[in-house]
């Protein structure tokens, strides 16, 4: 079976007045069920790599395959569909839609994918949020939730369509240590118990140390992998 993510010579250069290299020549294979940390100093291209893997950005050079499928010839629409079905994002800031309740936010990706009936979606959203300890906050809007709670809603949303890959960009970056620990435990659980693949950008080395694999970036290149 082909790996979940396969990258060869992945390079992203911003063509501005002075060209900026975000990441350069990255070779990477991520298999299903891995818990991968992407570390490095700020500006090292950690997030840029994550956006490339998440098809939010397109590489200037190099090849990227998702489940063996080349992403190069994909249309914008196909990219969006791939994101919808196979990836879940968790960002540093929760990025929930402010007008919708926690449950509605979780339902949005499911409604977009439209594989389930409305009742099933509601039930699934309720289950996901309850399993993340948010059973009492289903109908609250993001501004009525604490930072840790919002981030957990964001995780639930990332899991909505049961994607094999979760991409997390500094998921605990704006949380206190207790909430950070909670969120980390959830991500860890996803890998251990549900067999998900989690790729998390973090500058927290302690946290990175507890993951399966660490990819250390410096100046857009892989400097160390363990």
């Amino acid at each position: 079976m082909s790996p979940l993510i396969e990258a060869r010579g992945l390079t992203r250069i911003l063509h501005e007045t002075v060209p900026v290299t975000l990441v350069r020549d990255i070779d990477l294979i991520i298999d299903e069920g891995e818990f991968v940390a992407v570390t490095g100093p700020s500006g090292s291209g950690k997030s840029s790599l994550l956006y490339l893997l998440g098809l939010l950005d397109q590489p200037t050079e190099g090849m990227l395959r998702v489940r063996g499928r080349d992403t190069e010839p994909m249309s914008e629409r196909e990219r969006a569909e791939t994101r919808l079905a196979t990836m879940g994002f968790v960002f540093q800031f929760h990025f929930l839609l402010p007008e919708f309740t926690a449950r509605e936010n979780v339902e949005i990706p499911m409604r977009k994918l439209a594989r389930l009936g409305r009742d099933e979606m509601q039930a699934r959203a309720t289950d996901l949020l309850s399993s993340l300890g948010l059973a009492d906050h289903l109908d609250k809007r993001p501004d009525q939730l604490s930072g840790g709670q919002r981030q957990r809603v964001a995780v639930a949303r990332a899991l909505a369509n049961d994607p094999p890959l979760i991409l997390a960009d500094e998921p605990t970056g704006s949380l206190d240590s207790r909430s950070s620990e909670q969120v980390f435990a959830i991500l860890d659980g996803l890998v251990r118990e549900r067999g998900k693949t989690v790729v998390a950008v973090t500058h927290d080395l302690d946290m990175a140390a507890r993951m399966d694999r660490r990819i250390h970036l410096v100046d857009g290149e892989v400097s160390k992998e363990e």
Binding site: Y51, G54, L56, R79, A80, L84, E99
Partner: protein, 413 residues
């Protein structure tokens, strides 16, 4: 699709007051467009109705479009013939009985054959130039607009026979004559006959009230010394819009000039077209202004919701979804505005239809504003509003769809 609609409505509803202003903008535009269209169309219909009512739909006269060729011109192959003494044609429609019965066979409507005689009406030393019109009363009543304008007497009074005449009230007052008085009609042939006034009419058209005298056809023929002649066939059709086709057929068949009312009033009808063009230009302009309101709000939303756009894209919404989202937001405002505009338009139209006023000149005719109720006005105003809303939504939507989520997600950190 439901999802995008939900998000769109949430966005729009989230901006209560601004949305309301945009909706009212559209509503006022739609409302006034509807009211204006109702008034303009009403005026036009009223005008055309009067035009159609007062004129024959097709008027066949004993004239030709171009002068008849003289026999000499047909006989000799000369380049030019000068000093020709034209043959004096017998004026009038040739073989009128046949023409009339042919028309009656197929023509969907009513007709009346008449003889117009130029002449002078004389009474107690006063003279008024007039057209003495010879009619067959029982046929004339079916085509004439004057039937309803009698102040006293009627065409029926002519039918009784004898030397009777019906004239307009203005002519009567100029002559100083009244019902029962005997006037003298003198034709251009120099013949004179006395007629007793048995009816007076007032149409409101001065040329008619002052210059027309109706007598029996027979009497007109005697007066002009043209026995059995007629020189005009007036046709009223069941469907006035068929007039041009029928006029063409009559003209081809009979060879006489047959004028449809549309042709006779071409310049007026053209003016109406211009009026409509002006009206729809104004409607479009109003909607354009309303469109700016929509553009403004959708544009604001796309800016404020840049982060949401990035989120949705990261979740797996495509550019097309984003475009759809904001076009729907524009349309939602357009639709809400249109619905409100219908109510407003209906209210204004109803209010206008209740307005009564007197025409100052005569002081006697009380009238209402002519209003045309038509679903078409609502449809047209809505079509304008929605297309304007769609464009106003599309422009910011296109820009929003191109937003690169990475730029925004980065910017947030």
């Amino acid at each position: 699709m439901r999802l995008i609609l939900d998000i769109a409505l949430t966005h729009v509803a989230g901006r209560g007051r601004q949305t309301l202003v945009a909706v009212i903008g559209v509503a006022v535009g739609v409302g006034f467009s509807i009211a204006m269209a109702a008034l303009m169309q009403g005026g036009q219909d009223d005008f055309v109705r009067q035009l159609v009512d007062t004129m024959p739909h097709v008027d066949v006269t004993d004239e030709q479009r171009s002068a008849r060729r003289q026999p000499a011109e047909d006989l000799f192959e000369a380049v030019a013939i000068s000093g020709l003494r034209p043959r004096d044609d017998r004026r009038g429609i040739i073989n009128p009985t046949k023409a009339v019965s042919w028309l009656e066979e197929w023509m969907p409507g009513r007709l009346a054959a008449v003889l117009n005689v130029q002449g002078v009406i004389r009474y107690s030393g006063r003279e008024v130039g007039a057209v003495v019109i010879g009619i067959e009363p029982e046929k004339e009543v079916k085509v004439s607009p004057i039937v309803e304008d009698f102040e006293s007497g009627s065409f029926a009074a002519l039918a009784a026979g004898g030397n009777n005449v019906v004239i307009g009230d203005t002519m009567a007052s100029r002559l100083g004559a009244g019902i029962g008085d005997t006037i003298t009609a003198v034709s251009s042939e120099g013949l004179a006959r006395n007629f007793k006034i048995v009816g007076l009419f007032h149409t409101g058209t001065t040329a008619r009230d002052e210059g027309e005298a109706y007598v029996l056809l027979k009497n007109a023929q005697i007066l002009s010394n043209r026995p059995n002649a007629i020189n005009e066939i007036r046709i009223k059709l069941d469907d006035p819009n068929a007039a041009p086709t029928i006029a063409r057929r009559v003209e081809t068949e009979l060879g006489y000039k047959a004028v449809a009312w549309q042709e006779a009033n071409e310049s007026i009808l053209e003016a109406l077209v211009v009026r409509n063009v002006i009206m729809y230009t104004v409607v479009a302009a109003i909607m354009l202004v309303a469109g700016f309101g929509i553009f403004n709000i959708v544009s604001t939303i796309t800016h404020e919701k840049a982060r949401d756009i990035a989120i949705m894209k990261s979740l797996g919404f495509s550019q097309a979804d984003m475009r759809r989202l904001f076009v729907i937001e524009g349309l939602a405002i357009g639709i809400a505005g249109s619905l409100l505009g219908w109510a407003l338009g209906f209210a204004i139209t109803y209010a206008l239809s209740r307005v009564r006023f007197e025409i100052a000149a005569t002081g006697q005719e009380m009238t209402r504003l002519p209003i045309a109720w038509s679903i078409l006005h609502y449809a047209v105003a809505t079509a304008f509003a929605l297309s304007s809303a769609a464009v106003a939504g599309y422009l910011p939507a296109r820009r929003a769809a191109r937003v690169n989520p990475v730029d925004i997600i980065r910017g947030a950190t």
